[in-house]
């Protein structure tokens, strides 16, 4: 296979420096700074309206920041219009040119730069090959399925050898099964090419599946940036804990030896920075047993147990905990048992 991608440059590739974007009175981005190393798969994750797409569009040059800079490999991109930036975008709607065939769509970014004919042909062939589109080369976009269109959009962006590939919710139009498949392919493609990918999504599963790092956004700010397991296992805030997966949030007071919840005292491995606040624990981290655990054990009663096939979901009283465990056929509502909240699994939230 002919390789188009260059080896990743070392060190930092893209830096977003204190970017602010206001639309009239509305502040879409309130000073975002972020470093993205070359070859990283970064995901901007957040609900709609959190500013993730605006940030992506600012990197693409489709939106002008009110303040701040976008610097790529030492070069300030901010004054450059979209058509002069070495970045390409896969749009949410794919935005394929409906009057051009798959081949012509893929060649568009090469021809618009008046690239040499043979080089255009070589790269188009490469794009068709890497995304398995050879069979569809002469078709028009409306003759393709959603998944095929998405591959054309990817190929059309990738053949330009962008320094950074921007993906704006590219999977939102695909059905769940295909989406899972495409996520794996996308991750593989990124690693194979060694390119920097920035993906925008509101789907936390997708973010976890593909990313090197996740930048969780909230109301125009970065809430937490880290690897998927950092953000999942060590959320810093209630928002982060609740946005990624399910979490039990326990409100209580700081106590000399740990934490005092309404249902009892819990030991923590870190002293909370507040007098009153929250600790979090993931449902799959709570352990259920017949015997009293050595630490952080609670006597609980099963309020409801729902069989979900691969796992079982259990709600406990009186502490109102949600637990996810391996299927446990004997577990029934009303049953009394012990729940352990392991110290290492209790996360102290900053806010």
């Amino acid at each position: 296979m002919t390789a188009v991608a260059r080896p990743p440059a070392t060190g930092k590739s893209l830096s977003i420096e204190n970017v602010v974007k206001r639309f009239g009175d509305f502040t879409a981005l309130g000073g975002v700074s972020l470093e993205v190393p070359s070859g990283e798969f970064l995901t901007l994750l957040g609900p709609s309206g959190c500013g993730k797409t605006t940030l992506l569009r600012i990197i693409a040059g489709l939106e002008v920041p009110t303040e701040g800079r976008v610097v790529l490999l030492g070069q300030d991109l901010t004054p450059l219009p979209a058509n002069r930036r070495p970045v390409n975008t896969v749009f949410q709607s794919y935005a394929l040119f409906p009057h051009l065939t798959v081949r012509e769509n893929i060649a568009f970014g090469l021809k618009s730069r008046r690239m040499d004919k043979q080089e255009v042909e070589r790269r188009v062939r490469y794009g068709l090959e890497i995304l398995q589109l050879e069979k569809f080369a002469e078709r028009l976009p409306h003759q393709l399925s959603g998944g095929q269109r998405q591959r054309v959009a990817l190929a059309r962006a990738l053949v330009n050898e962008p320094q950074v590939l921007l993906l704006d919710e590219p999977m939102s139009a695909l059905d769940a099964k295909l989406r899972a498949e495409v996520q794996v392919q996308l991750r593989r493609l990124q690693q194979q090419l060694g390119l920097t990918f920035i993906l925008v999504t509101h789907d936390q599963d997708e973010a976890m599946a593909v990313s090197d790092r996740i930048a969780l956004m909230r109301m125009g700010h970065l809430e937490q940036v880290g690897t998927p397991d950092e953000v999942y296992e060590r959320p810093r805030t209630r928002y982060a804990a609740e946005f990624l997966g399910a979490a039990n949030l326990i409100k209580g007071q700081r106590h000399p030896m740990g934490f005092e919840a309404p249902f009892g005292k819990l030991a923590l491995n870190r002293t909370p920075p507040w007098d009153e606040g929250y600790v979090a624990i993931r449902p799959e981290r709570v352990r259920l047993s017949e015997v009293e655990p050595r630490q952080n054990g609670l006597r609980v009663r099963v309020r409801e147990a729902v069989y979900r096939g691969a796992y079982q979901e259990v709600w406990l009283e009186p502490c109102d905990l949600r637990v996810r465990t391996a299927p446990h056929p004997t577990l029934q509502a009303g049953q009394e048992l012990w729940a352990e909240l392991p110290v290492d699994s209790l996360v102290v939230l900053d806010e």
């Binding site: 693409a60 040059g61 489709l62 219009p81 979209a82 058509n83 002069r84 390409n88 975008t89 749009f91 709607s93 935005a95 394929l96 040119f97 409906p98 009057h99 568009f108 970014g109 618009s112 730069r113 059309r156 962006a157 330009n160």
Partner: protein, 261 residues
Amino acid sequence: MRLNPLIGITAIATLAFLYLPMLAVAVLSFNKTRYGLTWSGFTWDWYGRLFSNPEILEAARNTFLLAALSTLVATVLGTLFAIALERYPWPRKSQGFLENILYLPVVTPDIIFAVALVVAFGAFRMVSSLFEPGLFTMILGHVTFQIAFVALTVRSRLKSLGHDLDEAARDLYASYGYYVRRVLLPLLMPGIVAGAMLAFTLSLDDFVISFFTAGPTSQTLPLLIYASVRRGVTPEIHALSTLIFLLTVLLVLASERLTRR
């Protein structure tokens, strides 16, 4: 619910009401007698005479020249106007104003426009003899009412395209010119052609504006028909009317097909 057969009958009666007069004209254009409404045999004669009558040929030439030139100008201006209206970042208020003003020529009675043109050309004549009544003033007159129709058709096409493709083209290194040539115009083409056909038809059939702006040497077919009818309706006029009607129908059908795509 059973549909009342009266509804169907009403529809057919309405169609008959609309098209019977035209059908009568078409039938009479094949009638052998010159005068009267009695049928006395089939003939192509009147069509033959049509094409050997220098006055009619001259009028036909004028009509098509006028329609072609005015359509050309109106199509270019109307398309540019539609693009500017739809794509230029107008403040919300001026956009609404421009939209309304675009519709105005469509609903204003022709006669008002015609009178306004007469006044305007009269004033311009003091500056240049170009504005003497004739083909040039007729072209200007026709362009004024054609632009709105072209702009409206092109604009509805533009609206359906959205902004995605324009951003995708920019993202893919296209200059504005490259985008217009390779993306915007090819995609707008059905709308532009449909608009042009509509404009052509309107020019072909126009009487009022032509009547007020024509000069002695720029007689068009509708003007000729009007003048002839005052002298008495002849089968030649029937033949001519039938031809113009057929041409109009063809153009409208073609334009319909293009906009539907």
